[in-house]
């Protein structure tokens, strides 16, 4: 019996030694057959158990089982070890220096004016407004006549406007503000009306750091029952807080525009106490309501307007408006 136990022990030690030397999956497979296969020493020893007495079968059988489990575990462990080495070697061949690569496709860039335009639209949409649009070339009536500009008003006859060769002289021009869209909206829709009109407008301004003959503005128009100057002040204050932040506030100062009365300038108060002049506003003039087919005794409304481009200018610290129109990719790709 001692002989058999010695044989099991020898087989076990030998098997473990062989497993430990297997370097590849192939070698391990060969070793596994050799140490645990049908012809292996241990299996032979198990086959021989029948020739032993009960006590011998029990003790040697136990030793054989223990040895087989141990060798089996060793083979499995060895497999994991080989796998790991193998994977490490394979991964090493795949190594990349990611800093060697530059992207083949870069993202494009939204024009900063568009970004400002969309931010403004979003705030007003959030306040319940819809967005109205209209043509950039307009009739004199939509641009001035319907907006209560008196016949001899300087803006109407002067060179501030760019006129085009369409119809009679003085009949058609590049709109000087987006207010014609307000009139078109009034003519197309019954009140209540809550719209903003962003758009491109034109003036006969020589380009410089702060002026361009083409620029963008956004106007708002509200027509409803019982709308007052207080509603205008509240709406603008609410816009200012939503757009600039809760620490900002606003004020109205009396002013003059032909299309509103009372008219006001509205200023934004920064948290440091300084003021930014933002735009013009007022109660829609009864003559403008009438031009829009709305009875001023039934309905009242307010309008406001301000430039869009300036937000892009100040947001990014650009000191010259002309940059935005240059098409220079070195400029545009910064945004």
């Amino acid at each position: 019996m001692t002989t058999e136990l010695d044989a099991v022990e020898r087989a076990r030690v030998e098997a473990l030694a062989k497993v430990a030397t297997a370097a590849t999956f192939e070698e391990l497979a060969t070793v596994e057959t050799e140490v645990l296969g049908k012809r292996s020493m241990i299996v032979e020893l198990r086959k021989a158990l029948g020739g032993l007495d009960a006590e011998g079968r029990r003790s040697v059988g136990q030793a054989v089982n223990t040895a087989m489990t141990e060798v089996g575990d060793a083979v499995a462990a060895r497999r994991v070890a080989i796998e790991s080495v193998d994977r490490a070697a394979r991964l090493e061949t795949e190594r990349l220096d990611l800093s060697e690569f530059s992207p083949r496709r870069r993202r494009g860039h939204l024009h900063p004016f568009t970004a400002a335009w969309e931010r403004l639209e979003d705030v007003f949409v959030g306040m319940g407004f819809q967005v109205a649009e209209g043509p950039e070339i307009e009739t004199e009536w939509f641009n001035f006549g319907a907006l209560n500009f008196p016949a001899g008003h300087p803006a109407r006859e002067s060179q501030d406007s760019l006129w085009v060769d369409w119809g009679d002289p003085g009949a058609t021009l590049l709109r000087t503000h987006t207010s014609p869209v307000q009139v078109r909206t009034m003519l197309a829709h019954e009140p209540p009306i809550y719209v903003v009109c962003p758009g491109r407008v034109y003036r006969q301004d020589t380009p410089d750091a702060t002026h361009m003959p083409v620029f963008h503005q956004i106007e708002g128009l509200v027509i409803d029952k019982g709308i007052s100057l207080g509603d205008l002040a509240g709406t603008l204050d609410s816009f200012v807080k939503a757009f600039f932040g809760g620490a900002f506030s606003s004020r109205l100062r009396p002013s003059y525009f032909p299309f509103t009365e009372p008219s006001a300038e509205f200023d934004v108060r920064r948290p440091d106490g300084s003021w930014l002049e933002l735009g013009g506003c007022g109660m829609v003039h009864p003559n403008v309501l009438r031009a829009g087919g709305i009875d001023p005794e039934q309905w009242s409304g307010f309008a406001f307007g301000f430039g869009i481009d300036r937000f892009a200018l100040t947001r990014h610290g650009v000191d010259d408006l002309r940059e935005f129109w240059s098409g220079d990719v070195r400029f545009l790709s910064q945004f």
Binding site: V125, T139, W166, G234, L252, S300
Partner: protein, 788 residues
């Protein structure tokens, strides 16, 4: 309009910190653009006596002056002026003085000679420059005295106001004072000076005034004056004019300006002796009449200009705009006809604009002057003139009356005031707000009958005009803020606006940069782009190169590419979304204005543009579209196609015609896509109908056909789709081969087709049958050959 606080105080007891007062003016709509503290920086300047003047040994343009600053110790000063003599008193800035302009006076050497201070010119101490050189002070001043005390200069505040077009009253000191006094709740008083006239000398016999055209001139008042000595104005008067930005000229001109600034009423003086027939006729000019004006110009008039004529009907002045040279006051003038009038605002505006003479006077007339202030202004004129020259005045006005409008009487409803302003005012509270600014009210039931004052009659005639005045004097800042909310709509972008945004953001994500070239083109730009030169033109462009409105985005984008190429950025992928203006039908009220998308890929070939088009089509969820080989104007004749959607051409894709690109100095190929968004977005799109994802296996089949070059790949795809029917769930052209292994004049198109049924696993027989069907359709229908 500039106003001095001291001058305002002659009308009302206005008190307060200058910056607080500026805020009050702004709250009234008189926007303050600047606040200047005058006379505040004159410490250190004393009255000094010139003891001696000597040439500078090394300089011609400066001399050495010894002065006594009051302590008897002579000080040497270098001075660039030569108008003083020993014994003269002069303002002297002692060492350490900071001048009003910020300059610090220090002891320094000028070309080797010490200068121990500075002698001052008038403008250097904030006063009117009446003579060149150093200000010579009155001989009775005490040497060593503080300059400000000696001169009686008080500190003052200058407000620079931006007066809006609806406030003619605020173009005068009196008007600003009236408004501000009402706001501050202090009394305002309009002085009415009493001046002696010569009772024995009636004005009526001296001259006559005829208003021929009453629609031009509402009122014309004249006074006859004698014994005037033209000379300098009193210093205080000259100083005030200077502070308000007017240059003192002589006593007559200065008084005219002073009265205009103070009361808003311009005036004109004629040399009566030179007025033919001593007779004034006011009428519309006749086309082509001419007059030599005060500025030495010969002016030609039209029938829409107002003329002041003499007894021989010759024009001697342009009404309200500029006087004539022939009756100008001169040294030999002994008799003056002083005129103050009320002119039709529109005619003055027209003439001033036509002649480019936007004077202070014309501005006041065109906004609407106050016809009722003329009497006070006349007396004020004579009162002020008598400060510098004894002047005799004939008794009585010579008055011509035309069609003077009457100030409106307006019904102002209390409810309406409250509804428009969002306040809750009692009827009488409204009257109280209006009274101090000259609007008198009478209660009629719950409402008011409001009499508009003469100084607001041109701009104020309706209820809403008066409500604005109530609002101003209630205070915009006191109006409670409310936020109205629409109850019948959700805030949202329209479908088109959402599509436009999706498109922009998708293109940016795809690597394209948004550009905004100016929408103006130069004459020739369209032709150079191969486009029809007919376009909408700007009739008064800033420059000729910006006189054509674009009919396509192509020229502007090509200029952008050329600009970037010239700055070493030749490969630019960009897009623009903007309006183009088509002169399609000149009888229409407006041009055909459309929104276009233009995409340019510089250095890329046509397929790159079709790739962008597919992104566009996918983003917008377009239905079936086809590319029809054809080159629209400006595009590459053999590498372009029109995009057809729902039977409509909505754009074109391909490359820019190399000749066009080269004409814009773009030497690379330019892949180009243009889409008429106005047309496209009006067609049904974006409907993404759900199609159940099959849970059964699919089969892929690759087919390659040799197809003649004149058969478009689109036709092959279309044939495959038709033959594949519902079982063909995906079709992809994955290879195009031209070369030795295919017949000349044809190319190989390799497609991958994926077949799948929604309700079962396709059998081999089914796949085989549909595959054969597809092959048959392409071979039979299009004359193609299946490639082995």
């Amino acid at each position: 309009m500039k106003v001095l606080l001291s001058w305002l105080r002659e009308f009302a007891p206005i008190e307060g910190d200058p910056h607080w007062l500026a805020d009050q003016l702004s709250a009234l709509g008189l926007a303050v653009e600047g606040v200047e503290l005058l006379g505040a920086n004159l410490e250190g300047i004393v009255v000094a006596r010139v003891l001696a003047t000597r040439p500078h040994p090394k300089a011609d343009r400066i001399q050495l002056v010894d002065v006594d600053p009051g302590d008897g110790e002579p000080l040497q000063v270098c001075c660039g002026a030569f108008n003083m003599a020993p014994g003269d008193l002069v303002p002297f800035a002692t060492l350490g003085t900071t001048m009003p302009n910020g300059m610090l006076i220090e002891r320094r050497k000028l070309r080797g000679e010490w200068s121990n201070g500075m002698l001052c010119a008038a403008r250097e101490v904030g006063l009117a420059d009446l003579v060149d050189g150093i200000l010579i002070l009155p001989a009775d001043f005490e040497v060593g005295a503080d300059f400000r005390t000696a001169m009686g200069i008080e500190t003052d505040v200058l407000f620079d106001l931006d007066v809006t077009g609806n406030r003619p009253d605020a173009l005068s000191i009196a008007g600003v004072a009236r408004d501000l006094a009402a706001w501050l709740g202090v009394p305002f008083a309009m002085p009415d000076p009493v001046v002696e006239s010569d009772a024995s000398w009636p004005a009526a016999g001296e001259a006559t005034v005829d208003i021929v055209h009453g629609d031009l001139c509402g009122r014309f008042v004249a006074r006859v004056l004698r014994d005037i000595t033209v000379g300098p104005s009193p210093r205080w008067l000259a100083n005030r004019l200077t502070a308000l930005g007017m240059r003192p000229i002589n006593n007559v001109v200065d008084v005219s300006n002073y009265v205009m600034l103070e009361l808003g009423q311009p005036s004109h003086t004629f040399d009566l002796g030179r007025v033919a027939g001593r007779r004034i006729r006011v009428r519309w000019a006749r086309d082509g009449e001419t007059v030599a004006t005060l500025d030495g110009q010969q002016r030609s008039l039209t029938g829409r200009d107002g003329a002041i004529c003499d007894g021989e009907d010759a024009v001697i002045g342009i009404a309200g705009v500029m006087g004539g040279a022939s009756t100008e006051i001169s040294d030999t003038t002994t008799e003056i006809l002083l005129e103050m009038a009320w002119w039709d605002p529109m005619s003055i505006a027209r003439t001033a604009r036509r002649l480019g003479l936007r004077s202070e006077a014309a501005t006041r007339f065109e906004r609407g002057s106050d016809p009722e202030v003329i009497g006070v202004a006349m007396r004020r004129f004579v009162q002020l003139l008598r400060e510098s020259t004894p002047v005799r005045m004939a008794a009585g006005d010579i008055v011509g009356e035309g069609n003077l409008p009457t100030p409106a009487m307006v019904t102002v409803r209390t409810d309406r005031v409250n509804a428009m302003l969002g306040v809750d005012l009692e009827r009488d509270a409204i009257a109280v707000l209006l009274a101090p600014i000259g609007f008198t009210s009478r209660a009629v039931g719950e409402d008011l009958e409001v009499q508009v004052p003469s100084f607001r009659m041109v701009d104020t005639s309706t209820e809403i005009d008066v409500i604005e005045e109530v609002g101003r004097h209630f205070g915009f800042e006191r109006i409670p803020k409310r936020v109205p909310r629409p109850t019948a709509q959700a805030g949202a972008l329209s479908e088109v606006q959402q599509d436009r945004r999706r498109l922009r953001h998708a293109l940016v994500g795809f690597g394209l940069t948004e550009v905004m070239p100016l929408p103006f083109l130069a004459p020739g730009d369209l032709a150079r782009a191969g486009l029809d030169a007919d376009a909408v033109r700007v009739t008064n462009p800033l420059v000729e190169a910006e006189s054509v409105m674009r009919t396509s985005l192509l020229p502007g984008v090509l200029k952008t590419l050329a600009f970037n190429a010239s700055h070493r950025n030749p490969d630019l992928s960009c897009f623009e979304i903007g309006h183009v203006f088509l002169p399609t039908d000149r009888s229409a009220s407006l041009p055909d204005e459309r929104e276009q998308l233009g995409v340019a890929l510089s250095g890329a070939e046509a397929p790159a543009a079709t790739e962008v088009w597919q992104v566009v089509a996918d983003v917008l969820g377009l239905g079936e579209w086809v590319l029809q080989a054809d080159a629209p104007a400006g595009m590459h004749p053999t590498r372009s196609a029109r995009i057809v959607l729902g039977g409509r051409v909505v754009g074109a894709v391909g490359e820019v015609d190399p000749r066009v690109a080269s004409g814009y100095s773009v030497e690379r190929r330019v892949a180009w896509l243009q889409v008429d968004l106005t047309a496209l977005l009006a067609l049904p799109h974006g409907i993404r109908a759900y199609r159940r994802v099959s849970r059964y296996p699919s089969s892929d089949v690759d087919l390659a056909f040799v197809v003649a070059e004149n058969v478009p790949a689109a036709a092959v795809s279309s044939a495959l789709r038709t033959a594949g029917g519902d079982l063909l769930v995906d079709l992809h052209l994955f290879d195009v081969y031209r070369g030795d292994r295919v017949e000349p004049g044809s190319r190989s198109l390799a497609y991958r087709l994926r077949f799948q049924a929604a309700d079962r696993t396709l059998t081999d027989a089914e796949v085989s049958a549909v595959r054969l069907g597809c092959i048959g359709a392409v071979i039979g229908g299009l004359g193609a050959v299946l490639r082995g």
